[in-house]
């Protein structure tokens, strides 16, 4: 197991290296240069360009960047958003906020989705099932920023249950309360997806012979389902967690702006618009790292749930 994890971590480093390389080269393809302020005189501009090596060919710039990263761990400085501050210092306080709303919405949506999906499957073709399925379709087909707006308008503005935007406060309760709506609006879509998959998988399991066998053993239907079908149905559901998380990360870019959360999402949009390239690369790196970690965790979970995966490689 430890060896497997090490292999995966090495592969992850390689992936990150490729992502950073592609990001570095592709971002430069965007029109307009980093410094094109007409009020700066040509001499000063030349000096700035020289200082940041912007007058060299792109490949050479990449070489310098990589050398700094690998040898000194220096990911460059922010040029526009907070000039001359190292990129990770700029990101510092923002990463936890973004990770919080993304991971909490993901982690909360999976069990809730499983419960609703299981419920719909067991009550297949009843009003309960139709009701759940209706909401599932609604939540999947409408993008998260629409709920974000609706929730903000009704729950926060009209009824005043929650703060309208992110509130900085010493009181943790106020802070987390203001993060509730954005987290909820991000959680609805993954919740619906998990419910949909769980329903389909469980219905399949319910028709399987091993459930019949469990019933012939003398279990009631619900006991047979609980002991034999639920865990089996969770395995395929795990498959969708990775793409789902990528989706949540994407959604949070917009949702953060709606609720004025000073997280990575809004910073990323700002840094791209401002041509703050090193900052953009750093943000992409964090997003990639988080996604790759999710993939790794999901793959390890497979082994925990499914003995066929765990023992597949072993000799009998």
């Amino acid at each position: 197991m430890a060896r497997y994890v090490m292999q995966r971590l090495l592969a992850m480093l390689l992936t990150l290296f490729i992502i950073v390389t592609v990001a570095f080269l592709v971002i430069r393809l965007m029109p307009s240069s980093i410094y094109d302020d007409p009020t700066i005189s040509a001499e000063v501009l030349d000096m700035i360009q020289a200082k940041y090596h912007l007058d060299r060919p792109l490949i050479e710039q990449y070489g310098i960047f990589m050398k700094n990263v690998l040898l000194k761990g220096d990911w460059g400085i922010s040029m526009k958003i907070q000039p001359n501050i190292p990129v990770f210092q700029v990101l510092g306080g923002k990463v936890p906020l973004t990770l919080f709303i993304n991971l909490v919405s993901l982690l909360a949506s999976i069990p809730i989705g499983l419960v609703f999906g299981a419920f719909a499957a067991i009550k297949k073709n009843t009003m309960t099932d139709h009701g759940i399925s209706l909401f599932v379709i609604l939540f999947i087909s409408i993008p998260s920023f629409i709920y974000a707006t609706l929730l903000q308008y009704f729950a926060a503005y009209k009824f005043g249950w929650f703060p309208i935007t992110y509130t900085v406060s010493d009181m943790a309760s106020v802070k987390y309360l203001s993060l509730f709506l954005p987290t909820l609006s991000l959680a609805l879509d993954p919740m619906a997806k998990v419910a949909r998959y769980m329903r389909a998988e469980l219905i399949e399991s319910l028709n399987s012979e091993y459930i019949l066998l469990a019933r012939t053993k003398g279990f009631t239907r619900s006991k047979a389902i609980f002991r034999h079908a639920i865990r089996n149905s969770c395995i395929p559901v795990l498959n969708i967690v990775v793409p789902m998380f990528a989706n949540v990360l994407g959604g949070s870019l917009v949702v953060e702006s709606i609720f004025a959360i000073p997280g990575m999402g809004s910073l990323m949009i700002k840094s791209i618009n401002a041509n703050d390239h090193y900052l953009t690369i750093a943000i992409l790196l964090i997003y990639s790292l988080v996604s790759l970690m999710t993939v790794l965790v999901v793959d390890l979970l497979y082994a925990v749930i499914d003995p066929r995966v765990r023992m597949g490689g072993k000799k009998q």
């Binding site: 066998l213 012939t216 003398g218 034999h228 089996n232």
Partner: protein
């Protein structure tokens, strides 16, 4: 019907399914007795209602199934009227079932040991250690080598035949009185088939089980049965002892089934029954087999034949046995086959 004491009686059982297109009449008034210690084979082609009959006995019909009529009497109870809770006291404990496909009957992600012991823990309230001990004994008894090691393995580490043995262990765990085998060898290859059949015979003898054996393989029937029910289109068309059915078949459907059985002597092209079974959404009037029956009489298309008695043990539902019916003999080729079978049996017994 029988002078023995029946352990299970099915009377006029009628089961239908509410399907999208209407009511599918899967079982239409089936009656039979299962005597203590005997093996009753139910034969018939796919869709003849064999499995549905037995699922009704086990109380595991799917949700859209309705028992319209009839009763299943066991130990003074009518199984069709039990609540789910009451049924759970019988299933697994007193009536157990072996499934067709051992590859899909076991939970793929649960250790086989646990799948065996959970029955014991539910019904006999054994402790974990006691249950394990009993499971290991049973595993050894059905011929699973190294039961200690196998106990902690998963189904995917077993071969098909070994998995079927595990399914049999699960069925036997609580010492049931009745064992229902729903085509237990269909999914296995031929060499394993005979081993599993021998195993079922052996445990039946040892434990004095009463067995209902469902199959469409006449070869298996000959090997296993004490008595045979032949089913077609949701009805029993002929029943009798093994000898009655194999040596003196009376219903044209039984003739057809026996003619369609390959044997090593025949030189002719193997007989196949023309046409397809009727659509059970609208079962035909009269004898359901009539449209495919070479010997069908006019009345077969109008009225259902009652059972005619051939001997104390042997009954068949065909108008051909009516005193007014024209005398029809079974096909020549089948007669020759039966003569050969009788000869072979004699030789076998002389040896």
């Amino acid at each position: 019907m029988s002078k023995n004491n029946p352990i299970l009686q099915v009377k006029d059982l009628t089961v239908s399914f509410n399907a999208f297109a209407g009511k599918v009449q899967a079982v239409r008034g089936v009656s039979f007795d299962l005597n203590k210690g005997e093996t009753l084979c139910i034969v018939g082609e796919s869709g003849s209602g064999k499995s549905v009959t037995n699922k009704a006995i086990m109380g595991i019909l799917s949700k859209n199934a309705v028992i319209d009529r009839g009763e299943i009497l066991y130990d003074g109870m009518d199984l069709t009227k039990l609540t789910e809770e009451q049924f759970c006291q019988i299933r697994g404990k007193r009536i157990a079932m072996v499934f067709q496909d051992p590859l899909s009957a076991l939970n793929p992600i649960m250790k086989v040991g646990k799948q065996i012991t959970e029955t014991l823990c539910v019904h006999q309230k054994l402790s974990h250690e006691q249950a394990k001990k009993r499971a290991l004994e049973l595993m050894a008894a059905v011929g699973i080598p190294e039961p200690e090691k196998r106990f902690d393995q998963y189904p995917f580490q077993f071969s098909g035949g070994m998995r079927q043995r595990i399914v049999i262990v699960i069925a036997l765990a609580c010492n049931p009185e009745i064992l229902i085998c729903d085509e237990p060898t269909t999914a296995l290859d031929v060499t394993i088939q005979s081993k599993i059949l021998d195993l079922i015979k052996e445990i039946k003898q040892e434990r004095n089980l009463s067995v209902i054996f469902i199959t469409h393989n006449m070869g298996v029937v000959a090997n296993m049965a004490d008595r045979i029910c032949v089913m077609y289109a949701g009805k029993i068309v002929e029943f009798g002892t093994c000898d009655d059915i194999f040596y003196h078949p009376a219903h044209p459907y039984t003739w057809a089934l026996l003619s369609a059985m390959p044997d090593s002597e025949s030189r002719e092209r193997l007989f196949s029954i023309p046409g397809a079974p009727p659509n059970m959404l609208m079962p035909p009037k009269g004898d359901a087999f009539a449209p495919r029956n070479h010997y069908a009489l006019d009345i077969d298309f109008k009225e259902e034949p009652p059972f005619f008695k051939l001997s104390d043990t042997h009954y068949a539902a065909t108008w051909l046995l009516h005193p007014y019916a024209p005398r029809v003999e079974m096909p020549e080729e089948l007669k020759r086959r039966i003569d050969r079978m009788v000869e072979e049996d004699m030789e076998y017994e002389c040896k």
